[in-house]
Amino acid sequence: MKELLLGNAAVARGAYEAGVRVVSSYPGTPSTEITENMVRYADVDVEWAPNEKVAAEVAIGASLANARAMSCMKHVGLNVMADPVFTASYLAPPGGLVFCVADDPGMHSSQNEQDSRHYARASKILMLEPSDAAECKAFTKEAFSLSETFHTPVFVRLSTRVSHSQALVSLEEPEVRQPAPYVKDATRVAVPVNSRKMHIAVEKRLEDLRAFAEDCALNRVERHGSRIGVITSGISYMYAREALGDAVDYLKLGMVYPLPSRLIQDFAKGLDKVYVIEELDPYLEEHCRTLGIPVIGKEAFSLIGEYNADMIAQAVLGKPLAKEKTEPMEALPVRPPVMCAGCPHRGVFYVLHKMGLHVAGDIGCYTLGANAPLNSMDFNVCMGASIGTAFGMVKAQGRAFGQKVVSVIGDSTFIHSGITGLIDIVYNRGNNTVLILDNSTTGMTGHQDNPTTGKTIRGVPTKQVDLELLCRAIGVDRISIVDPFQVKELEKTLREELQADEPSVIIVQRPCALLKGVRYEGRYQVTDDCRRCGQCMKLGCPAITRKDGIVSISPIQCIGCGLCANVCPFGAIVKEGSR
């Protein structure tokens, strides 16, 4: 049977067919739907972990206890989980162990554009790279078996266009597997005396894998009798096929670490020109150069962003992909993402902007508070960093700066890695103010539950982390809970907490407007009392527009949250039908 599946759903299907038993992940675009799709399979133990490091550890543990296990993350998630992953490479646990990492060339939804293939080399872990959904399924399945055959964890590298494209996938029956009983093996205690031996085994394993790579079916030569060759992998292969068709020969690499040196040399022999086409870094290219093959790589293709077929046609054939195009339209206003109508974060950033505070930002829907007209974020780094960075700023600028800067961090991000930063502030006698924006969900990545929401990935009720008690337990004495739509109260609380010469936490609580069960009654409208002061325009609500000085609220876009009525100084915004 064939089904149209999203690349990520196909990865999930592959894992299921391979008899995966445990899947632990932390969400992150473009990887999230892999784990979400695992929920379809009742027998799989699937969970959202608090962060990628824990997710990887759970998968490693399951594999140590003989089960097939997987953990999925976006590229920057791999940074977070790198520590356990590098040593898991040494431990080589017995159950098939797969890490799916999804890169985001072009940064559709990411803070940077790193190329995960470097991690495979650095951690000495086998890496596969599928080109479409059909291969996503096949390669994931293969990854589990290679993991067990070669005693290694396996990476599956995805990218946005592979993860988020649908293609036809043939479905097969799942393997039924029972993990063998666990037996202690103390040689897996990673202390120097053991690790030295394990490292020797890792290098031996790499030699075996290099030999395997030379003639495994994952790496494929397609000859069309051309004088030009293309070495490529992943989505770049699809772009190249689209652009060049049968006009060139291809070496399509499905296994991108370790690389098959002899196969590459044989492929290049007798060709006049060999192009290496790969997103992002010159990873394959550099390997070819070490083999002495004079390939054409980044001198013809970009180091930055996504590729496409047109770019490849221009570079290799010297002509564009499409013969005649409709004339494009220029100089159109851009449409950046915005906080939704009814977003609870809006009230917070309205107040922060009004108070002119410095804001150490973090990653989530609230990062949109950086955009006009709210304009209230100074910078952000990575998940959890809002707290440590703000503490560093106060150290640099002096204690009084603690009254001018706040950290903003979402509930999921706080649990992910914000809590440790807060412990640092308490432990080292800081005076920072931290706003935890608790919207009862992991919003940015599409509304996953997390340890603060009281539900598991399968919707099963569970214990809920009490943010207030948690902060109190680590030694924060000043904790307030505020509704972000009560802007006056929020401002007053902020003033008090910034003044206090000790750590403060303000938990700003209101659920995301897109969550099921969040309903606001009615819509709001502007009355004749409007004095055109423009205060409501400072909210940056997509439902509120102004034409020739006259403000109006779109009845289609308004969801009735009433924040605009709270900020209107003249009471000129009222609920429809209330007058």
Binding site: H108, S165, Q166, A167, E324, K325, T326, P336
Partner: protein
């Protein structure tokens, strides 16, 4: 030959559901299909593009400048942004609704005047007040399926095949409304 349909709109307008209905339809015709979707940040009210490609064998999941046979646009400005993706004799189907992007709301830029006319000058353009039709069907949310009805009239697939695709894709709860929206789109004659 590969067929190329591009669906553009604003995050939240249901481009995802639309491409999935199309995918199901094309699959039922025994074609190879690739869809490319957008998840993540731009779903929060940004410009959203999905691609639908079909034929005997499809490689790239992306439609590039000058390749699209049809652009199905749920908003005027987004339609304008996508015009250059059409092949010379491609067809633009545009919902005439306007949604102001934030740079327009803040007054940093103006919503361009005369967009429809400039589009009509460039390519075959069908303008549809899909919002009114959607409201007639029961909800402004059905703009996407109204537009699908308009597209169906341009394409060669049977109404049965379209209906079947809608039935397998749309959740039961919203089915009646969406079937109505589709029918209104299908009846709509823009020329």
């Amino acid at each position: 030959m590969t067929g190329n349909i591009m669906i553009v709109g604003v995050g939240g307008q249901g481009t995802l559901l639309t491409s999935r209905i199309l995918g199901t339809l094309l699959l039922s015709q025994g074609l190879d299909v690739k869809l490319s979707e957008v998840h993540g940040m731009s779903q929060r009210g940004g410009s959203v593009i999905t691609y639908v490609r079909y034929g005997e064998k499809v490689y790239s999941p992306i439609i590039e400048a000058g390749q699209a046979d049809y652009v199905l646009a749920f908003e005027q400005l987004e339609a304008a942004r996508a015009v250059g993706y059409l092949r010379k004799d491609g067809c633009l189907l545009v919902n005439t609704q306007k949604l102001e992007p934030m740079p327009v709301i803040t007054g940093a830029m103006a919503y361009p005047e005369g967009l429809l006319a400039s589009m009509q000058k460039r390519c075959r353009t069908l303008c549809v007040d899909a919002l009114s039709l959607a409201e007639q069907a029961g909800s402004a949310k059905c703009v996407n399926v109204v537009m699908l009805g308009v597209l169906a009239r341009q394409m060669k697939f049977s109404v049965d095949a379209w209906t079947q695709a809608i039935r397998t894709t749309v959740p039961e709860k919203f089915l009646a409304m969406n079937e109505k929206a589709f029918a209104l789109g299908l009846q709509y004659s823009a020329e």
